[in-house]
């Protein structure tokens, strides 16, 4: 009988994260962000982390657990994101001043390239060529190659040590289902990671509860799961305050 993948709490599920680990955090805006695992990580004492996500977070209100908090706690040496500054020039991300001062390193990556670099890692592909960012500052000094008359930029795969993800439903074998735009980066990060930790919005269902045709991420990619308790003990997506 295989060992259970279900952990009693978030702290137990993230136990043993080594200093210097590369961790991917799923999610886009609020849906699919592993808020509870990110909050638990704040108390883990891990240092020198490389954090990978769409954004370092923190421009919207209410502020939810994000990479910016981990940076503020001195746990992060590098971030790899599609946003290292806010989209609106008038906004300031909590992360930005740590980057400007040189305390934390950052690699700014176009969103589709970020997704594909992890997809490649999860697919055993070491690098790929993309037309994205050709002719921009991001491509300066880097290897490009022309295929059929068009220039492409070489991008390396981005493997992760850990993926923190959030799913809607899970069965005991770790098969996951996501709901609506919650899916986003979550299954790709899971496939790119050595250890995958999932927070799940519903009680874990028995193996066989899902039709095998209806599974979004196969359980072989998922190692640890925690059921999210109802608020206020568990963190759930909030409505953002409207912006002008």
């Amino acid at each position: 009988m295989a060992r259970s993948k279900v952990y009693p709490g978030f702290a137990e599920a993230i136990h043993g994260i080594e200093d210097g680990s590369t961790i991917g955090f799923g999610g886009f805006a609020m849906p699919g962000v592993p808020f509870n695992l990110m909050k638990a990580l704040q108390s883990s004492g891990a240092k020198g982390l490389t954090c990978v996500a769409n954004t370092t977070g923190g421009a919207g209100q209410p502020r939810m657990p994000d990479i910016g908090h981990l940076v503020e706690l001195g746990m992060v040496s590098k971030v790899i994101c599609a946003f290292t500054a806010a989209t609106r020039a008038s906004d300031q991300l909590p992360f930005t001043k740590y980057y400007e001062s040189g305390e934390v390193e950052a690699e700014l990556v176009p969103q589709g390239t970020l997704a594909e670099r992890m997809r490649a890692a999860g697919a055993g592909i070491p690098a790929f060529y993309t037309p994205t960012a050709v002719g921009t500052e991001l491509a300066a000094g880097r290897e490009t190659r022309v295929f059929a008359g068009r220039e492409y930029l070489l991008e390396p795969a981005l493997p992760l040590d850990y993926a923190f993800i959030r799913a809607h439903r899970a069965d005991a074998s770790g098969n996951l289902r996501f709901r609506r735009s919650q899916r986003n980066f979550n299954p790709i990060m899971a496939m790119a990671a050595r250890v995958v930790i999932a927070e799940v919005e519903n009680d874990i269902e028995p193996a066989g509860a899902f039709d095998p045709d209806d599974i979004h991420l196969a359980g072989i990619f998922v190692h640890r799961m925690v059921v999210i308790p109802p608020a206020p003990d568990g963190l759930w997506p909030q409505l953002r305050e409207p912006r002008a």
Binding site: F28, A29, M30, P31, G32, N54, G60, A82, F83, T84, A85, A86, T87, A89, L93, F95, T96, Y99, E100, A106, L108, V109, P110, Q111, G112, T113, A115, E116, M118, R119, T130, P131, T132, A133, V134, G135, T136, E137, L138, H168, R179, R180, S181, Q182, R183, N184, F185, N186, P187, I188, H216, W236, P237, L239, R240
Partner: protein, 218 residues
């Protein structure tokens, strides 16, 4: 000379959409294109993998699992489908997006534009803009014609780091609709109450009226 409102700028772009186009709207004024009543039957695509979304959710009816690329709670049309991020950008990178509409800080008459990094900043916000700009069939830009201090945003060459080179096909500002034409902009349509001289004075590159130039009906 103030010209079009933000919604009217979005309307001027949205009325160019054609049947069966797959359309991606960027954060800011471009999302207002989905408020425009148009006859074209189009499909909205969002970077986070939502294909076939509809109007914004009514207050109190938001689905907490469902947002567009701007983080706004949208609704789904009957034909909607959801894919993960790598598939969403596979759709983009393989050239299946008919038009991407984005905001920008600057756009140049050579078709370059800049929208990810402001002057003096170390970091930036790229999001999906570079993928969309490099790969969509058409790039349409919506922006205020000038900065708050009156300096032009339509230039001969971008001063800020570019998002992509030579890709912009159509620009809507509060003063009109423009096409980059190499060393100048063609003025395709002018906003009501605005003169050609006023447009020229507010633009950092030569402006030529296009043959058959019209006045925009807001």
């Amino acid at each position: 000379m103030s010209g079009l409102t933000r919604q009217q700028m979005a309307d001027a772009i949205a009325r160019r959409f054609e049947d069966d186009w797959i359309v991606n709207l960027g954060v800011g004024i471009p999302t207002m294109c989905s408020n425009t009543a148009i006859t074209a039957d189009i499909i909205y695509h969002s970077e986070n993998g939502v294909i076939g979304y509809g109007p914004m959710a009514a207050p109190g009816h938001e689905d907490m699992h469902l947002v567009n690329a701007g983080g706004q709670h949208v609704t789904l049309k009957p034909e909607a489908a959801v894919v993960h991020h790598a598939d969403s950008f596979a759709i983009i990178r393989s050239g299946k997006i008919d038009v991407t509409v984005m905001g920008a800080y600057e756009v140049a008459s050579n078709g370059d534009f800049a929208n990810w990094k402001i002057a003096g900043a170390k970091g930036g916000g790229i999001g999906g803009a570079m993928d969309l700009a490099a790969c969509a069939k058409r790039v349409f830009i919506i922006l205020e014609h000038t900065q708050r201090n009156g300096a032009p945003r339509l230039l001969r060459q971008c001063a800020l780091p570019v998002t992509a080179r030579g890709v912009v096909k159509l620009i809507a500002t509060n003063l009109g609709l423009f096409e980059p034409a190499g060393d100048h902009f063609n003025l395709v349509a002018i906003a009501p109450g605005v003169t050609l001289d006023e447009v020229r004075a507010a633009t950092g590159a030569p402006v030529e009226p296009a043959p058959g130039m019209t006045e925009i009906v807001p």
